[in-house]
Every structure is written in structure tokens, then in C-alpha cells.
């Protein structure tokens, strides 16, 4: 195989790349509105949309990097990466810088690094590898091994506390697990035991997390306190009505009724300014995005590539589902951003890297056709 093959380009899923870039572009435009900072000259604060573009460029670098080599090399990298992320998580656990009361960052001087994001990648790789090597449905033994892989990193992440990311990984590998299939007997037992364990989890939650769950159930109890985000984001979206209030005209977002509007609640800004029509278009784009990943899954020619893209699929699927569900009041507030639309440094770079992995799988499916 030559180091460069024209077929790499012809097999690349251009639609997926384009729809992702479109989403990212919409995100930047939306961030311009969500973080527009008006002031006299001499103000040095860089707005979020400008920073987001820089992160986008870095992300594109990550995307090219993640799609430039044959993804099958990752099989041998899965374990080393896993150990590196575990070590980093431990470092954070011991020394990490605290932001908003949660220790999630390692300060490298020039930027803050979130080992959580690397952990997502390494868990995905390792679980894909594991399922690749597991021929039949998951038995008690294989299921225990599978869950054992992610138990420690997830526990460390949740203890930071970053419930959102921990949940993200759990759902990602959980999705892959169900996709792969579980023995009926095992599945049946789990279906009985897991709901019974739910109340136990309640006691493991931090107070603010419990509060979020309670607020989700009764937001009107505390309209100016914890329920504020939910109510105001619903007012923002609802008041967009059919056509929206127009770019930069969203009173809810421009007048700072929306907290965290540039990160977790970007959808509220978008819904207010672009209305039902705009939001539906955005939904269609996301739907098309996931559909394209599904096509890659279908077209993949080896088990590792297959599970890798399944992982990527669930990675994005759950983020969209949880973020939208939270903003639309369908589930408690969990700090999970909307892919490509929310502002974020490492999270955006990792999004592009995951996208790169899916593209990598799609680019190299010819290897098997001819081989």
C-alpha cells in the first residue's frame, strides 16, 4: 500500500465532513450572538466566537491527524492510551485545579488540559477492541471484563465531580454494549437489578446534583434559584415561536436572562433567534450527521472499524440527546455540551478527533474490497 492513495479521497465521506463543518459554522455564528461584546476600542477581551474559531482550526488539525493513518494501528495503541489517561486522571484527582468547585483540569501553562476528554477516546478504543475480540453475545464473564475496563476511569471522573462526562462515557460504552448484544439471560437479570440500584445512586450524588434532579422535577418551586436556568431557557426557546426573533435580536439571550448560554445552553440562544424553522433545520442537520456515521458503520469492512464507528455514533448521539433533553426540560441539568455548537476548547478538539476516526474508517474501506 502506497503512503498516499487517491482512493482515500474518493472514499472519504465528504457529506459527513461537510455537515459537521456546517454545524460548526452555525455554532460560530450563534456564538457571535451569544457572546457579542460591545464596547469601545481598546477592549482586549477575545469573544467566544473568535476563540471557538481558533479551537475549530486546532480541531481540524486533530481531525486530519486522526484520519491520516490507518485506524487499525490504534488496536495496538488502545492499552497504552488507556494507561496514560488513567495516570492523568490520577494527577487531576490529586492536584487538579478547581474550576466552579470541580477539579477537572491540568494546567500546562499555555492551556488547560482536561484528561477527561482523552479518557473518552481511550475508553472508546479499548471497548471497540474488546468487542472486536469478543465473538458471541456478552456473557457474565465478558460483560464483567468489559465493564471492569471503564469502571476506574469513570469513577475518577465522577469524583472530580464531572457527572456529565462520566455519564457520557457510560452511555457511550453502554450503547456499544447493547449494540454488540448481551445474552438474554444476562440482559434479563440486569433489567431487573439495575432499576433496584437506582435509589442507591441517589445517595452517591452531590447536593447540587440532587438539587438539579429535584429542580428538573419541579422547576416552578424555585423560579429564581435553581429552576432559573430551565425556565429561562424554555422561555427563550418558546418565545422564538415559528420564525424566531432574528439574529442578535433574542432578548432572552442578549439581555443575560440565560446563564451558560455560550456553553450548555447554546440551543436556547439558537431556538430564540431562529425559531421553530431554524431549530428544525438544525435538527435535520444533526439527523443527517448521525445518519452519515451510521452509513460508515454499515460500510465498514472489519470488526474494529465497525465498533470504532459505533462508538463514535453513540458518542455524538448521547451528547445531542442529553443536551437537547436538558435544554428542552426533558431531563435534569447535566453539564454536557451540544457537539459543534457549544463553546469549548478540548471538547471541540475531541469532537473533531472522533469525527476524524469515523472518516478514517470510511476512507479505508477499499483496503478490504481489493484485499
Amino acid at each position: 500500500m502506497s503512503p498516499f492513495d487517491r482512493r482515500l479521497f474518493t472514499h472519504l465521506n465528504w457529506s459527513l465532513l461537510l455537515v459537521a463543518l456546517t454545524l460548526f459554522g452555525l455554532g460560530v455564528i450563534n456564538l457571535y450572538s451569544a457572546s457579542s461584546l460591545r464596547g469601545e476600542t481598546g477592549m482586549t477581551t477575545v469573544s467566544f466566537y473568535q476563540k471557538q474559531m481558533i479551537w475549530g482550526l486546532i480541531g481540524l488539525g486533530g481531525l486530519i491527524l486522526c484520519s491520516s493513518f490507518d485506524y487499525r494501528h490504534l488496536r495496538s495503541l488502545a492499552w497504552p492510551l488507556y494507561w496514560v489517561s488513567l495516570v492523568l486522571l490520577f494527577i487531576v484527582f490529586l492536584t487538579g485545579e478547581s474550576i466552579y468547585g470541580a477539579a477537572r483540569w491540568i494546567d500546562f501553562g499555555f492551556f488547560h488540559f482536561q484528561p477527561t476528554e482523552l479518557t473518552k477516546l481511550s475508553c472508546l478504543l479499548l471497548c471497540a477492541l474488546f468487542l472486536t475480540r469478543t465473538p458471541g453475545l456478552l456473557t457474565w464473564t465478558t460483560l464483567s471484563k468489559y465493564l471492569g475496563i471503564i469502571a476506574l476511569p469513570v469513577a475518577l471522573i465522577i469524583s472530580q465531580p464531572d457527572l456529565g462526562s462520566g455519564l457520557n462515557i457510560l452511555l457511550l460504552v453502554g450503547g456499544m454494549m447493547f449494540y454488540h448484544g448481551i445474552q438474554t439471560r444476562v440482559f434479563g437479570t440486569l433489567a431487573l437489578i439495575l432499576p433496584a440500584l437506582m435509589p442507591l445512586c441517589w445517595f452517591g450524588l452531590h447536593d447540587y446534583q440532587k438539587e438539579r434532579v429535584l429542580t428538573f422535577l419541579h422547576p416552578e418551586n424555585d423560579p429564581l434559584g435553581a429552576g432559573y436556568n430551565i425556565l429561562q431557557s424554555q422561555i427563550a426557546i418558546g418565545s422564538g415561536q415559528t420564525w424566531g426573533k432574528g439574529f442578535l435580536e433574542g432578548t432572552q439571550s442578549q439581555l443575560r436572562f440565560l446563564p451558560e448560554k455560550h456553553t450548555d445552553f447554546v440551543m436556547a440562544v439558537f431556538g430564540e433567534e431562529w425559531g421553530f424553522v431554524g431549530s428544525s433545520l438544525l435538527l435535520i442537520l444533526f439527523c443527517f450527521f448521525l445518519y452519515q456515521i451510521m452509513l460508515i458503520i454499515q460500510d465498514s469492512k472489519d470488526r474494529f472499524g465497525h465498533y470504532l464507528s459505533v462508538g463514535v455514533f453513540f458518542y455524538f448521539f448521547w451528547q445531542i440527546a442529553i443536551n437537547m433533553g436538558m435544554v428542552l426540560g426533558l431531563m435534569p441539568v447535566v453539564g454536557i455540551p451540544l457537539p459543534f455548537l457549544s463553546y469549548g476548547g478540548t471538547s471541540n478538539v475531541i469532537n473533531f478527533c472522533f469525527l476524524g476516526l469515523a472518516l478514517n474508517v470510511s476512507m479505508r474501506r477499499f483496503v478490504f474490497k481489493k484485499g
Binding site: R38, R72, I237, G240, T251, Q252, F257
Partner: protein
């Protein structure tokens, strides 16, 4: 190169799970969006509208305060302030830095003002950071403020007192309502100015006016789209005082560097023409907000500039009180105007010796001479004969020891002692000697200058005890009558005239052509003088041990009649310290 997996081992049939997941997810989100944006869209649109509607108070200008000739004593001028609406701010530190560069106010100070106001100002309401912009700053900022949606220029009427300290005690001042006041009056909002002292406080009800309300709708940039006045502000009512501005200033100047109190009153109407307490303070400082350091400085100033000496300070009335004692004696059948006593310069009661101010004595005198020359021994005799019970009863009837009812805050009632009072407050029985010194206005007896003015007024207005009035259009409010026969009252009035006209009279310096003037001097002992100090001139005695100088008098020309009471703190003798001031006042009043 890789151990390739078998294509046919791929679980492709499971892709359908993904398809179902996509359909469920997007159908749910789509339905939820439809529910919020279409089905409930107008409900949320109304809620968003309520979010951008703000209620703004419209300040009602406070009523003006004018003197009897229409001169404005308390005015409103527009003040421009710079306020921050925190919720509109993209980055508060940047905004504060900009304000600092515009106004030169340090960022630290701005931060501390922001911190102070944070809990008190409602969200989306302006928080005043710079209360007074100069016109230059205003013009500069006005041209640039469009770049700062979080800043707004606030115009509000600000009280000014153009004449300053001479009027500080009459007018008082307005300042921001404190927490207690806010709770007591639900109509007040944080930052509202209310009267705290003087007539600003006592006439607060009519001066204050009523705030208006305005609804503002703002757009996404925080700029006002529509505004609607819901309630118009009702300005406060103007207050016309009986005070004569030029007389008030003359009195102030006439007191020179002395601390003291002066009141000028029309005895027929009870209207106050001048009410001066010196030293005063600049009441404008309170309006702009006094720093706690400046406040403490004023509060602990040993010369008590905040004290309204005319109504709040109580002094031993000294010889001025002899008029009341004489009245009390005349009300008794066995003492007449011709009752005379011999004055050897001292009076002996039991083992005690009480001196007359004239050490060589006055010889034998009748009552009118005793008043005119202010003979102490004559009144020691009266005091012993009358006794404290009769004396205190009479003095209360003529207005001592109780409030005059002037509409100014914190009036003191002074004190007329009697046996019960002493037993209760001092815990000892009344001594005969105490009745004797009460008769010359010393001992426990204290009164305010205003009480004396009211008493003198009653002597010259036909015996009516009037409420001192501050409003120009007030009608006389008769609170009582002197328990004196007309001829006895006339006698006392005549005795005062004699004090001025007589060549031995203590107030002879007051004489003015064409004007009938009567007066009584007084010297209020601050401490019992030691022998050492007694022979010295006033200038040689340390200031705080010097006597207070009193002069109370009236001047009449035809229908016009005025009463004046002057007290000069630590001024020495009444005639020398207070006399020239009384003369200045009467000269001014009858000048034209």
C-alpha cells in the same frame, strides 16, 4: 499486514438499532420544539416580554422652601449620575475601568460602591456608581455611552440649600432614607431622599410629593423601545416660611465667632422671623451623602454644630427668669409692685449666704427697680416667700418646662424643678436655699431660648401663650393665657422698658429713637464660680467656665412689635455680649 476480520462476522443486522435510536431521538426533540415554539409559543413570548419590561420610578421634585419674601431657601437642581445595569454588562471590570478613565474615580472605589449597592438594587435596575457628574464629564460620556449598553445617565432632582450654614438648623436637610425609614414607609424605595432634620423633616409629608412610574420595554441590546408613563409624578407642595432671609443672615453675622442661639418672633402671630443657632453646618453635604468620617467629625465636634440651640439646648435662664418670678409674686395678693426689700449685697438663709451680683448692694428697692437693675437679693426674698411649689406651678403655666410645640424635630422641654422632681431624680429632699436660687434662674432650672421668647411675647401681646409658627400663612395658635392681671402684665412690660430707659438699667445700651424697647438681661452661671474667678474680667476666665449671656427683649413702633431672645454661650454678661446683637436686630427691623 493486519489480521483482517471477517466481513461476514460483522453484526450488520444490528444497525437497525441505530436507526430506531435516531428516529426516537429526533422525533422527541422535534415534538418538544413544536410544543414550546408553536403550541405554547405565545405563552412564552409573553413571558419573554415580561422579562424585558422594566418599571422605572419617576422622581417627584420636592416642594421648594421659601422665606416670607419669596426668597428660595431650598431648591432643586438636576443632578446627573452614572449608573450601571449589571445584567446588561458583558464584562463588569471592563466597564468599571472605562468609568474610572472617564471620571478619574479609582476602580477600587467603584468596586466598593458596586458591592454596597449589589444587595439593595433590584436586577435590571440602575445602580448609581457616580452620583455627581460635572457638565464636562456629562458631555463627554453622553457622546460615548451608546457603546455601553450597561451604563445609563440618571437625572434626578437634587436638593440644594443656597444659603448654607445660617439656615442649617431651620431647614435641616434631606438624605437617603435608611433601612428603618424604608420599612416604616412602604412608599419609599431605596435611594429615595427624605427629610431628616429641620422643617425638611417636620414638613416631610407636604414637601415630599409622590413618585411616578414608567414602564419601559427594551430590545435585545438593552435599549428602550417603548415607554409608557403609568403614573405621573406629583411634585411636593412648596413651603413658605415665616423666616426673613435677610434678618436670619444679619443675625448669623452679628453673632460673629460666638456660639449661641437667637430667635426673633412676632408676638402677635407667633411667627418666627429668625431662628439662628451657631455654629451651623453645611446641609448641602448631607444631600450628596456624607462620608462616615465627616459625619463623625460633625457629631463629635466639641462646639456641637448639629445641635439646634434655640430649641434643643437648655440653659439656666438666669436673671431673665426674674420676670416670671415677679409675675408669680404679683399673682399673690400680699405682694404688690410697691413691696420693697433692702439689698445689702448678700442674703442670708440659715447658714448659707447668697450674694447679689452687685457686691456693694442696691440698697432698698421696689419691684420695678429690682427688675431694671436685676437685683438678686430682692428675688432671693421673693423666692423664699413664694416657695418652690407655688413658683414651679406658675412657671409651668407661663410655658417653662414644657414643649412650645414648634414644628421642628427634637425640641427639648427644659426643666422646672419641684420637691417631687428632686426626690425622684436626685433622691434628696428639697432645700430652702434651692428655692432662693431658683428665683434668680439658677440651680436646676433650665429653659430653651424659644421658651423665653414665647414668655416675653405673652407679656407684650395681651397675655396669649402662642405656639411658635414657622409657616408664613399660619394663624396664631393660642395655647393658653398668662395667669396675670392686665395691670401686673403691664407692670412687667414697663419694668423691661425701664431696664433700657433707666440710667442704671442693665439694658440701657439698646435705646433706639422712635422705638419703644424693653429688655431683660441675664447671666447664666455655667459652674459655681470660685472666689478666684469671681473678680476677674470675662476675658481672663477660661472659655468653658465663662457665663452664658442672655438678653430677652421686645421693640414696638405702632402696630409693629417684635420679640428677640439672644443667648451667647460663654459670652460673659448679658448686656455686653448679647446686647449689641439685640440692638442690630431691632435696628434692622425698624430701619426702613
Amino acid at each position: 499486514m493486519f489480521r483482517s476480520d471477517q466481513v461476514n462476522t460483522l453484526p450488520l443486522h444490528r444497525v437497525v438499532i441505530l436507526q430506531i435510536a435516531i428516529i426516537i431521538l429526533f422525533a422527541t426533540i422535534f415534538l418538544r420544539l413544536w410544543y414550546f415554539q408553536i403550541y405554547k409559543g405565545d405563552v412564552y413570548a409573553r413571558k419573554a416580554e415580561a422579562n424585558i419590561t422594566r418599571i422605572q420610578s419617576l422622581h417627584a421634585p420636592r416642594g421648594l422652601i421659601r422665606d416670607r419674601n419669596g426668597n428660595i431657601l431650598a431648591d432643586n437642581r438636576p443632578a446627573y449620575g452614572l449608573a450601571l445595569i449589571r445584567e446588561n454588562s458583558a464584562h463588569i471590570p471592563t466597564t468599571l475601568a472605562q468609568i474610572s478613565s472617564w471620571t478619574g474615580i479609582s476602580e477600587d472605589l467603584l468596586y466598593s460602591r458596586l458591592k454596597k449597592g449589589k444587595g439593595k438594587v433590584q436586577p435590571f435596575n440602575p445602580l448609581l456608581l457616580v452620583p455627581n457628574l460635572t457638565f464636562k464629564q456629562l458631555a463627554y460620556i453622553e457622546a460615548r455611552i451608546h457603546n455601553w449598553p450597561d451604563l445609563s445617565i440618571i437625572t434626578r432632582p437634587l436638593r440644594t440649600y443656597p444659603y448654607g450654614p445660617p439656615f442649617s438648623h431651620v431647614l435641616g436637610y434631606v438624605a437617603q432614607a435608611n433601612e428603618e425609614e424604608l420599612q416604616a414607609n412602604p412608599r419609599l424605595a431605596l435611594g429615595d431622599m427624605i427629610g431628616k432634620q429641620g422643617v425638611e423633616k417636620s414638613f416631610e409629608e407636604i414637601l415630599h410629593g409622590q413618585k411616578g412610574r414608567k414602564h419601559l420595554q427594551v430590545n435585545a441590546q438593552g435599549r428602550t423601545l417603548r415607554s409608557q408613563v403609568i403614573a405621573r409624578p406629583e411634585p411636593g407642595t412648596n413651603l413658605d416660611l415665616s423666616i426673613d432671609c435677610s434678618l436670619q443672615q444679619l443675625v448669623w453675622d452679628s453673632l460673629e465667632q460666638h456660639a449661641g442661639a437667637v430667635v426673633v418672633m412676632e408676638p402677635i402671630t407667633g411667627q418666627i422671623l429668625a431662628l439662628v443657632s451657631k455654629p451651623g453646618y453645611d446641609n448641602n453635604l448631607f444631600v450628596q451623602g456624607l462620608s462616615s468620617r465627616d459625619w463623625k467629625k460633625l457629631l463629635h465636634d466639641p462646639s456641637h454644630p448639629l445641635q439646634n440651640r434655640v430649641i434643643q439646648s437648655t440653659y439656666p435662664p438666669g436673671s431673665v427668669f426674674k420676670l416670671a418670678v415677679a409675675g408669680c409674686a404679683l399673682a399673690r395678693s400680699d405682694i404688690t409692685t410697691s413691696t420693697s426689700f433692702y439689698c445689702p449685697g448678700y442674703y442670708r438663709l440659715g447658714t448659707g449666704v447668697f450674694r447679689c451680683w452687685r457686691r456693694q448692694g442696691h440698697g432698698k428697692l421696689a419691684m420695678s427697680d429690682a427688675i431694671a437693675r436685676s437685683c438678686d437679693v430682692y428675688f432671693y426674698n421673693l423666692g423664699e416667700q413664694l416657695g418652690i411649689t407655688r413658683l414651679s406651678k406658675f412657671c409651668r403655666q407661663v410655658g417653662f418646662g414644657r414643649l412650645t410645640g414648634i414644628r421642628l424635630p427634637n425640641e427639648s422641654s427644659g426643666l422646672i424643678p419641684d420637691k417631687e422632681w428632686k426626690l425622684q431624680h436626685v433622691g434628696k429632699a428639697w432645700q430652702g436655699g434651692e428655692s432662693v436660687i431658683t428665683a434668680i434662674g439658677q440651680g436646676y432650672t433650665t429653659s430653651t431660648p424659644l421658651q423665653i421668647a414665647r414668655f416675653i411675647s405673652a407679656l407684650v401681646n395681651g397675655g396669649h401663650l402662642l405656639q411658635p409658627q414657622l409657616q408664613n400663612d399660619d394663624h396664631p395658635n393660642i395655647q393658653g393665657r398668662l395667669p396675670l392681671r392686665d395691670k401686673d402684665r403691664q407692670f412687667l412690660r414697663q419694668a423691661m422698658i425701664q431696664s433700657v430707659a433707666d440710667r442704671h438699667g442693665t439694658a440701657r445700651s439698646l435705646q433706639l429713637p422712635q422705638v419703644t424697647i424693653g429688655a431683660k438681661t441675664g447671666t447664666a452661671q455655667v459652674v459655681r464660680l470660685t472666689e478666684k474667678h469671681e473678680d476677674k474680667d470675662t476675658e481672663e476666665i477660661p472659655y468653658k467656665y465663662r457665663d452664658h449671656a442672655w438678653m430677652a427683649g421686645f421693640a414696638q413702633q405702632g402696630d409693629r412689635i417684635y420679640v428677640t431672645v439672644v443667648l451667647v454661650e460663654h459670652g460673659g454678661s448679658g448686656s455686653s455680649a448679647a446686647g449689641p446683637i439685640v440692638k442690630d436686630i431691632f435696628t434692622h427691623l425698624f430701619e426702613e
